[in-house]
Symmetry: C2
Subunit: 485 residues, 2 copies
């Protein structure tokens, strides 16, 4: 156990920082006079105190963090922080169980955006601010996790994206790498976040609304301050701003870092994954628009386009905002949208799912297999952006895909065993593993996760965490190998 003290020390530090971020909802509470400042102050005190305690208790054994400590650290951060993130919710939402509060905090910090709450409008505004702010914090963690930590650990073939990373590449030490990468990524993250905030304000939102929905948009989270989600605004301007920033957040943030470094947009246009992402979004919106008009869901092209654009991009980017109850559309459309959310976002974005670059590698490998069947002696390596992809990376990507399928199956089976109907069970697992949020049926866009039993809620929390930690980073802790040394 003492061997892991350096990991716990970092966790303690992260907890203290997390506690400090509670100053943001506390500040809002103060200026909005919603009367729950004390709750936030208490939560903050508890979080910082426990974080400091952990930090101090574990500070003595100081060994350099090794790459494989990253598995434990990432899992601890995403499972422990929600415990503390849940405190303000437990204090100020009457009758909320720990199960539900933890789910809500996990949903925020994994940027899933599924909720167990209704009557959001009646909650203190700063509670909604905190729910959404956790999405922004989660997003900060995710881009560092995805761009710096997981590629270093070689999870799911993500080492192939190393070249994109800001910061020192050849340094195998965890801490400096994370620190330098984080600095670069967060700079561009906050720059875009500021633009998003001003965009929503321009579109007519109040400052608190603009802030909380900016947080939720940047993290592709999907939590909103209204039960009706974005239908509450009923504003084309708001929807357009949301679309722009959902699309921007679906791209690898390392690209923005390079754009900023080079003062040129070229890195974006030259990136295959980003181009594919925009093309896929455009094509999907077009298909769903035509489908909706053809089925007479919306008689007017413009209405169909508006609703298709917002809701398709929202689900496909794993955001999960809604302006209509798209579960009522003929079933092909919502199923297509949920299918897209499994792979449509770029690696290094705040999105979930297996990511476009992995899908691309898998497709290229299938293509190569067809060639091999006809010309067994002419097997060429798979390439990505001109560079040869090592077989080991392909194996890692495929293992990722297999475990993804296994978790999808096991999660659905587990929910079926608890008595949930099959549509809700399957789509809840899809929506959670991809960190999207709304599924269909009982967990559809017009409903939420409130109707689930405690056991079902826990299953969903676990699936959200598994998805966010790219499966392997969490599952590896359950192998005896990990704990052997």
């Amino acid at each position: 156990m003492r061997y892991y003290y350096p990991v716990f020390k970092v966790l303690g530090g992260v907890l203290m920082l997390f506690g400090l971020t509670m100053a943001v909802p506390l500040g809002f509470s103060h200026f909005l006079h919603d009367g729950i400042e004390e709750g936030f102050a208490l939560s903050m005190a508890i979080t910082i105190a426990i974080g400091a305690g952990l930090f101090l208790h574990c500070r003595h054994l100081d060994r350099e963090l090794q790459p494989h400590d990253g598995f434990l650290l990432a899992t601890l951060v995403w499972t422990v922080l929600p415990v503390f993130g849940a405190i303000p919710l437990l204090l100020h939402i009457p009758g909320l169980s720990f199960t539900d509060a933890y789910f809500e905090a996990v949903s925020g910090l994994t940027t899933t955006g599924a909720t167990v709450l209704t009557g959001l409008e009646k909650l203190p505004v700063s509670i909604n601010i905190w729910r959404c702010f956790m999405v922004l914090i989660g997003g900060m963690g995710i881009i560092v996790l995805a761009v710096a930590i997981l590629p270093l650990l070689g999870v799911g073939g993500s080492q192939v994206f190393k070249a994109e990373t800001p910061g020192p590449m050849k340094d195998d030490k965890l801490t400096p790498r994370i620190a330098e990468t984080a600095r670069g990524l967060w700079t561009v993250y906050f720059a875009i976040a500021t633009a998003c905030l001003l965009g929503y304000r321009w579109a007519g939102m109040s400052w608190p609304d603009a802030f909380m929905h900016m947080c939720s948009t940047m993290g592709l989270g999907g939590l909103a301050g209204y039960d009706a989600s974005f239908a509450a605004f009923d504003s084309l301007k708001v929807e357009l701003v949301a679309i722009v920033f959902m699309l921007l957040s679906g791209v690898n943030f390392a690209l923005y870092f390079r754009i900023w470094q080079r003062r040129s947009m070229r890195p974006l246009w030259r990136d295959l994954e980003a181009r594919l992402f925009f093309a896929l979004m455009a094509a999907s919106v077009a298909v769903v628009t035509v489908f909706l008009v053809a089925h007479g869901v919306y008689p007017e092209w413009t209405t169909a386009l508006r609703h298709a654009a917002f809701n398709v991009i929202s689900v496909a980017t794993t955001t999960g905002f809604a302006t209509v109850d798209y579960a009522q559309w003929p079933i092909f459309a919502p199923i297509l949208m949920l299918f897209l959310c499994g792979f449509a976002t770029c690696a290094g974005s705040t999105g979930g799912g297996i990511k476009l670059s992995r899908s691309l590698l898998l497709m290229k490998q299938v293509q190569r297999e067809f060639t091999r069947l006809l010309h067994p002696r002419a097997v060429r390596p798979v390439t990505l952006g001109g560079a040869v992809v090592e077989p080991q990376v392909l194996f890692s990507v495929q293992a990722f895909m297999l475990v993804y399928g296994a978790v999808l199956t096991a999660g659905t089976m587990a929910l079926l065993l608890t008595g949930l109907d099959i549509i809700s069970a399957f789509t809840a697992v899809v929506a959670c593993i991809n960190n999207t949020g709304p599924g269909l049926g009982q967990v559809g866009p017009a409903n939420n996760y409130q109707g689930l039993t405690d056991l079902q809620t826990w299953i969903c929390s676990i699936v959200m965490l598994l998805g966010r930690l790219e499966l392997f980073a969490m599952l590896i802790l359950f192998t005896p190998q990990f704990w052997r040394r």
Copy 2:
């Protein structure tokens, strides 16, 4: 086009043989006096005449068949034979469309066992004999395809099972290899089929019933002579015989060939895949039995065990017989059963799905990935039964799995687009791609494929063919590369 004449010549020969097999239902019709001898005679004449015409027309250009001709030949055999197999159905079932007749023949020859017919009891017995006999013929084709042809072509990593094959291994010429392998496999196939026939007769079936259900059992087909499937017999003895022979047919027939050659059962007990198969069946029956009792579906253990044993083994082995409407069981059970049918049978059996050996390789690769994450420099090769599996085989198996997932998704989406509900759409595609037969919902065990529109029926026919031809053997014909020389 002339380049493919040697392939068409073989197809002509196969057609002639297929025409000859119509003598079997013709003989039954004669002895049972059901008055449709002439129909079979006519069908037989047409099939043999067209087969002979093709054979003679294409006999002049005589080049040796190459391995890659196997793709075209396999696809032609399984798409063209059903056209002729449908003739007797079209002649004697009033109002039957070609779409439905072709579906029924594809369902037989791919040993899927899905049906678009109701009122089976009122059909001439020899028509039911023919439907089921096509399953037996299909099964003969499948074991040769799976044991001799596909491994030679390297489809889906099946080259790893080469060692099991009777016949010359190093011969790259298609024809002698197929001939010798077929002789060995069909000897044991017919021996077991005879035992099955006598078993059903012993259990109390009439000769025609015993014959047709033997055919359907050996091919793991699932077509029956009664709308109620095996519930029509309501006999424990019949069910036990069916269970025994469904299990036997789920094993690699190359193993039986070796058992026969060596006069020893050891090849069976020593085979990892076979042992896994039996263990998986036993475990699944146990789980479903407990589940049914726990949910009070059947208050008595013995009843639960009886129904679980028959229906779970039937679906998991991709047979598709039913003694109860298991779609009415709490949804976890039928979904588990459909999940099993995707991978539970052995390579070289008459079953469908991705096969146990492929699943085993995939699992081993995932396991290796976990090890690699912790010890990047200690990557060991994947082994199967002590032998190292080449990376290329792993890539092939994974490509197979990916295309399997893609067809599952595309097929479901296509059916959703036609307006089918999601449960029926998804389970129909699962049941067709795995050549199982009954799905859930509109295509559940108490219903059948009759309610589908023509377009939906064609989609299902295509998915059955894709599944049976192990996806690649058919899909490769749609690549431009295949036709380039």
